[in-house]
Each structure stands twice: as structure tokens, then as C-alpha cells.
Amino acid sequence: MNWGEFLHMGGHGLYIWFSYAAATIILGLNVILPLRRFRALLKLDNESTHESTS
């Protein structure tokens, strides 16, 4: 397995790796951003529950 050749991809390396990178970034953000918002809302919700019962 020649990694140099694998990265080079017959001259098309840049196009291929940018494509796979774009996919990783875009699909990654689509998971990370909603999850972060979910956790923040969960935290807010728990805080307000404890406030009202304390």
C-alpha cells in the first residue's frame, strides 16, 4: 500500500481529498451544532426546574 500514491490519486488527489474533507466538515457540523444546542437547552431546562423547586 503506497500511501504516497494513495494521496496523489493519479494527479487528482487535491480534488478528491477536498471533496471528502468538505463532506466531513459539512456532515460533521450538521451533527455537532444541533447536539450542542440540545445540550444547552437541556441544561437550561434542568436549571429552571431546580430554581422553581428550591
Binding site: M9, G10, G11, H12, Y15, I16, A23, L42, S48
Partner: protein, 244 residues
């Protein structure tokens, strides 16, 4: 009995925990399919005799494009249901679809450009397929912008629904663009009445990646829907129980 259970789900109170139980399974399946698909696409699939290694971009480009259209259809269908039967969960689903659909459309356009430059010598051409896919992106963005511009949630949902439904006409245009016009973009080789006409060594990774993206979509849309429910049902009793 089955229908009654299905109708129960339409209440956020039941949908929230139901989706919560599904998400881990969907995540697992998505990851397995993604790893297998990328392994097949990068290591197993052979280079094309004309296009060389750049054909590997197809395993991202084509499933993204398929998802961009599929999600729009789902979004418009749900928006119609919300419009007609006033089911909030349908509006929730439609709104959750939009950013994911827009992302896949954008990804299809970018990877298309990155494929077009080495193959056609151009980053962009105003051919029918590319142009109609770009219009799809504008429709998604318009839907999201319209909904965020309207404060009252039900009016926002209705306005977005009307836009989404008007945009449905673009879907057959995108699909048939390669038949109706002289396009640079290649004609259909998979979604054809007489079956696919590409070799299995290329078809299999393609279908695995398509399945991966499909499960990815269902995973993420459920996460978004639960987040939206958390946002709107903040003071509900049932939610206090769920989030302890």
C-alpha cells in the same frame, strides 16, 4: 391498534422519548455504513479507464445529490400535512429537514465542481442540471430565511410550507434536466426504468454510501426535532420528567 399508536406519536410528549430511543441505533447503523462505504469507495473500487481516480468523488457527489432531492420531497410533504391537518410535529419535521437538505445540496454542488474541474476543465457551467440544483439550494435557504423572519410559529410554518410546495416543481426539472436539454452533465445511469447500467464494482459503493447518507439524515433529523421540542415545550410537565 397500529394506527392509534402511530397517531399517539404525533404528540410531542410521545415522540420525544420514542425518537430518543431510536437515535443511538440509527447512529450505529450510520457509522457502520459510512465506514464500509468509504472503505469500498477509496480502497476497493477500481479507477475509471477514462476518468482515473477522480471517479471516487462520485461516491460523495451522487448520494449527496440524491439526498438533496429526497429531503426536499420529504420536507414539502410534511409541510403540506402541517398545512392541511395542522399537525405541529409535521411542521417540526419540515423545519428540521431544511438545514440538512441545504447541506447536502451544497455538498453536491461543491463536489460537482471539484469533479468538473479535472473532467470538464470548468468549475461551473450554466447547464440545466447544475442550474436547477443551484435553484434547489436557493429554495432551501429561502425556506429557512422565511421561517426565521416570522415570529409567530404557526404563521412561520404556513409561510414556509407554501414556499416549499411551490418549489416542488423544481424536483422533476432537476431529474429530467439531462433528458430535456443538451447538458454537459451526464445522463442518468442508475435511476432508470430499465435498471442501472454501471458495473457492480462502482454501483455497490455508491449504494452503500447512499444508504449511509439516508440513515445519517434520519439520525440528524430526529436530533433536530427533539431539540425543537425542547425549545417549545419548555414549561410542560411531561418534559420535566423526561429531562431529569
Amino acid at each position: 391498534m397500529l394506527i392509534k399508536n402511530f397517531q399517539k406519536l404525533a404528540a410531542a410528549k410521545y415522540f420525544y422519548p420514542f425518537a430518543g430511543r431510536l437515535i443511538p441505533w440509527l447512529t450505529g447503523i450510520t457509522l457502520l455504513l459510512l465506514v464500509y462505504g468509504i472503505y469500498l469507495g477509496l480502497f476497493v473500487a477500481p479507477p475509471d479507464y477514462q476518468q482515473g481516480e477522480s471517479v471516487r468523488i462520485m461516491f460523495i457527489h451522487v448520494p449527496s445529490a440524491w439526498m438533496s432531492i429526497f429531503i426536499y420531497a420529504m420536507m414539502a410533504g410534511a409541510a403540506a400535512i402541517g398545512l392541511v391537518w395542522k399537525i405541529k410535529l409535521a411542521d417540526n419535521f419540515a423545519s428540521a429537514c431544511a438545514p440538512i437538505g441545504a447541506s447536502f445540496t451544497f455538498l453536491a454542488l461543491i463536489t460537482g465542481s471539484l469533479w468538473g474541474k479535472p473532467m470538464w476543465g470548468a468549475w461551473w457551467v450554466w447547464d440545466a442540471r447544475l442550474t436547477s440544483e443551484l435553484i434547489l439550494l436557493f429554495l432551501y435557504i429561502g425556506f429557512m430565511a422565511l421561517q426565521s423572519a416570522i415570529d409567530e410559529p404557526r404563521r412561520a410554518a404556513r409561510a414556509g410550507a407554501v414556499l416549499a410546495l411551490i418549489g416542488v416543481i423544481n424536483l422533476p426539472v432537476i431529474h429530467y434536466s439531462v433528458e430535456w436539454w443538451n447538458t454537459l452533465h451526464q445522463p442518468a445511469s442508475v435511476a432508470r426504468i430499465d435498471g442501472p447500467r454501471i458495473h457492480s464494482s462502482i454501483l455497490v459503493p455508491l449504494l452503500v454510501m447512499a444508504a449511509a447518507f439516508m440513515f445519517y439524515f434520519f439520525t440528524v433529523v430526529l436530533i433536530r426535532m427533539r431539540t425543537a421540542i425542547l425549545g417549545t415545550e419548555r414549561n410542560s410537565q411531561w418534559l420535566q420528567g423526561e429531562t431529569e
